[in-house]
């Protein structure tokens, strides 16, 4: 797929969200936990299933296109498990040969590295499979048609797909009021189990999840920049727009720099996307490090520049900054990713350091 396709996808989904994902839509979803009409609109366009092969129930397309959609989802704060449905759970299911069902699908890490035991185990029973354990902070588990998880079994790592109605779901949220539920599995029958193929493991899920959050952060940061520039040009104090004060202008410049940086990082990582190992690890680790750090800087600069107005529930800035503060930690914050990146670079040795950095986007 060429860059042109990525832009077309972004434009199409952006247009849809601009019309349908208003501040009120987001606020309402925060109260009820779900935005069914918005989901229906996105689903109709097939957007959540981009990058999932057609033969498994997806719509095809690249990781870069999926991330272009996520940027728009972030931009409009769309309260939906779009990343989970395609790029994460969809990818795991399809890779393992399981069909991707209709409706929203979700997932969350069950271990932070391939070396750690999973918090969910699955075992053969006389009639099939049964799963036990718990998965924490699963986005919209209460609304998903399927929860897809990596589970340990005596035969090795499995991809399991279960109906959340069979599990006990303990509701939770992130700072933006987006559902982050705990899924408790108490010897629950699972009808879809497949061995995790090569390339599908905890590290790979964490990597893809981190990429998805970097793309979401990039989108939200872009909108925060726009809102803040507009506000500070309209807000007058001492007889002039506050944007004319040097101190405020400095916040705007920082916002623009951080936004462009995170956008670049997320887009390069997405463009190089696909494989779980090798250079792609470096790209995503770098992108999430940059994105998580930028999220905090962007939120701080925007709030400082917009004064008390920005601190209110009614004003749309908060819908975005509360997401930035949540997404920066999801699938690992900058501490985790910079540590992993540094470890990998150190392992590769000093002579490999510059070549690791001086790589371009493959597209």
């Amino acid at each position: 797929m060429s860059r042109g396709d990525t832009e077309l996808v972004a434009e199409a989904v952006g247009e849809l969200l601009r019309g349908r994902c208003t501040q009120e839509t987001v606020a309402a979803a925060e109260r009820t936990g779900w935005a069914p009409e918005l989901w229906a609109g996105l689903a109709e366009g097939g957007f959540p299933w981009i990058s999932v092969p057609e033969e498994r129930g997806g719509v095809g397309g690249t990781v870069a296109e999926a991330c272009a959609v996520l940027e728009q989802v972030g931009r409009y704060a769309a309260p939906l498990p779009v990343a989970e449905t395609g790029l994460l759970a969809g990818w795991m299911s399809a890779s393992a040969g399981l069909d991707v069902p209709a409706g929203p699908v979700t997932t969350a890490p069950t271990a932070r590295s391939v070396d750690a035991p999973a918090t969910v185990t699955v075992q053969r029973t006389s009639s099939g499979w049964a799963a036990s354990g718990r998965a924490a902070r699963v986005p919209w588990a209460r609304e998903a048609s399927r929860v897809v998880l990596l589970a340990d079994s005596p035969d090795g790592l499995q991809v399991i797909s279960l109906d959340p109605a069979t599990a006990h779901i303990e509701p939770g949220v992130n700072l933006a009021g987006e559902p982050r539920d705990t899924v408790h599995l108490d010897d629950v029958a699972v009808d879809a189990v497949a061995e995790a193929p090569a390339g599908v493991d905890h590290d790979a899920l964490l990597l893809r999840g981190a990429l998805s959050r970097a793309a979401l952060i990039a989108g939200a940061a872009g909108r925060v920049l726009d809102i803040t520039v507009t506000y500070t040009n309209e807000r007058r104090q001492f007889g002039r727009p506050v944007a004319r004060f040097q101190a405020v202008a400095a916040h705007l410049v920082k916002l623009a720099e951080q936004t462009e940086a995170v956008r670049m990082a997320a887009r390069v990582a997405a463009a190089n996307g696909g494989t779980a190992s090798g250079p792609w690890f470096l790209d995503v680790a770098a992108a999430k490090t940059v994105a998580s750090e930028a999220a905090g800087l962007v939120a701080a600069a925007a709030h400082q520049a917009t004064g008390a107005m920005g601190m209110t529930r009614e004003y749309e800035l908060g819908q975005l900054t509360r997401r930035l503060w949540s997404w920066r930690e999801e699938y690992g914050g900058e501490l985790l990713w910079s540590t992993r990146l540094g470890a990998a670079l150190a392992d590769a040795g000093a002579d490999a350091l510059w070549p690791a950095i001086a790589r371009g986007a493959v597209a």
């Binding site: 939120a299 400082q304 004064g307 008390a308 601190m311 209110t312 900054t321 503060w325 900058e334």
Partner: protein, 379 residues
């Protein structure tokens, strides 16, 4: 600069011990400390504190206060804030309104308000900001028109913290449409339950209700509620902002978070977490000494306006840094409904922290005032 290492006297340390004992007895073991926005509004707690003489300590005894020094008040206040005690009810009245009344109020106002403030029974909000007057406070448009026996007030105040809970607020308003915008302003003490006054909530980022919009529709304020002189409002309000500046509330907002981090994770800290706590504590130790030095200098009659501004700037930035650093080394998703106190406090702190460098005057405006002071170009 007045900054000098400051020792506390044995009497001051005894006072601290008494406050600690009181807090240990009053606050339950699972107490959730207040962060940033002043802690809970708890009339019962304010009254108990007042019964020990710890509200309005610096109010002279003739007005029912403790007649204590700024440092004695500092010691009590820092203990309360470090514990995150629920002091919101009397907080503004005792920190800000009482000194203003002492400086500018009539004898009758002092005699009526100060004993009530010291008893923890008369609570104030601040009515300064308006929709079009934030940093540019002198552009307030709320107008008071002279009528028989008093003033009729019309206009809108905004971001009025705790107006839905308190009794009065001090309102900066225009009493004459003067050409010089700094004259023609006055301060009125307005009953928050006066006819014609409408208080509506403005919800905070995290959904909480801290501040309000207050609309005046022909609200009558009697002459004896004019605070200080008609037309001197600007001078009064700018000297009032100096009191607001450098106290322990400017660097202890998130101490409860730091403490909860150590309580709940300290035993399994890694080195990065140890370093974060070490750094946060080292800075706090230093900033507290700076603030204490300001308090001591006030005792000697100094007017350390620049120093107070520097302490507020360092202090509020420090508070934001602590939140950032702790969430960084905690390295976990923030769960507002989490099982641990630290998680719940962190969720609150992340959403509250941006306000630290806005309320009471933004960093940017504060710095320009401090810079003018530093370079000697005082107004």
């Amino acid at each position: 600069m007045i900054f000098a290492p400051t020792e506390l006297t044995p009497a001051e340390e005894r006072l601290r011990r008494d406050v600690r004992e009181f807090l240990a007895a009053e606050l339950p073991p699972d107490f959730r400390p207040g962060l940033g926005l002043g802690g809970r509004h708890d009339p019962e707690f304010s009254r108990k504190l007042a019964a020990h003489g710890w509200v309005g300590m610096a109010i002279p005894t003739e007005y029912g206060g403790g007649g204590a020094t700024p440092v004695e008040r500092f010691v009590v206040v820092e203990e309360l804030l470090a514990a995150g005690a629920p002091i919101l009810a009397h907080w503004v009245a005792e920190r800000q309104t009482a000194p203003t009344l002492l400086a500018f109020g009539t004898q009758e106002q002092r005699e009526w308000f100060l004993p009530r403030i010291a008893a923890g029974e008369c609570w104030f909000s601040l009515g300064m900001s308006e929709p079009d007057a934030g940093s540019d406070l002198a552009s307030v448009r709320t107008a008071a028109t002279k009528v028989d026996g008093g003033w009729l007030v019309n206009g809108t105040k905004i971001w009025t913290s705790a107006a839905h809970l308190n009794h009065f607020f001090v309102v900066l308003c225009r009493t004459s449409p003067a050409e010089d915008r700094h004259h023609g302003l006055s301060q009125l003490i307005v009953d928050l339950h006066a006819p014609g006054l409408k208080v509506s909530p403005i919800h905070y980022l995290d959904g909480g209700h801290h501040f309000n919009e207050v609309v005046f529709d022909d609200v009558f304020v009697p002459d004896d509620r004019v605070l200080g002189e008609v037309g001197a409002g600007w001078h009064q309000v700018t000297s009032e902002l100096a009191y607001e500046r450098s106290g322990p509330d400017r660097y202890l907002s998130v101490f409860g978070l730091l403490k909860a981090f150590v309580t709940e994770f300290g035993e399994s800290f890694d080195d990065a977490q140890r370093a974060a706590v070490g750094r946060a504590s080292a800075k706090l130790w230093t900033i507290r000494q700076l603030s204490l030095a300001v308090a001591r200098s006030l005792e000697r009659g100094a007017a350390p306006a620049v120093e107070a501004a520097l302490v507020k700037d360092i202090g509020t930035l420090y508070e934001q840094e602590v939140v950032e650093v702790l969430r960084h080394v905690a390295g976990q998703e923030i769960d507002p409904g989490g099982a641990r106190m630290f998680e719940r406090l962190l969720a609150e702190a992340v959403q509250t922290a941006p306000a630290f460098t806005l309320r009471g005057g933004t960093t940017e405006v504060l710095r320009s005032i401090a810079a003018k002071g530093l370079t000697g170009a005082r107004r």
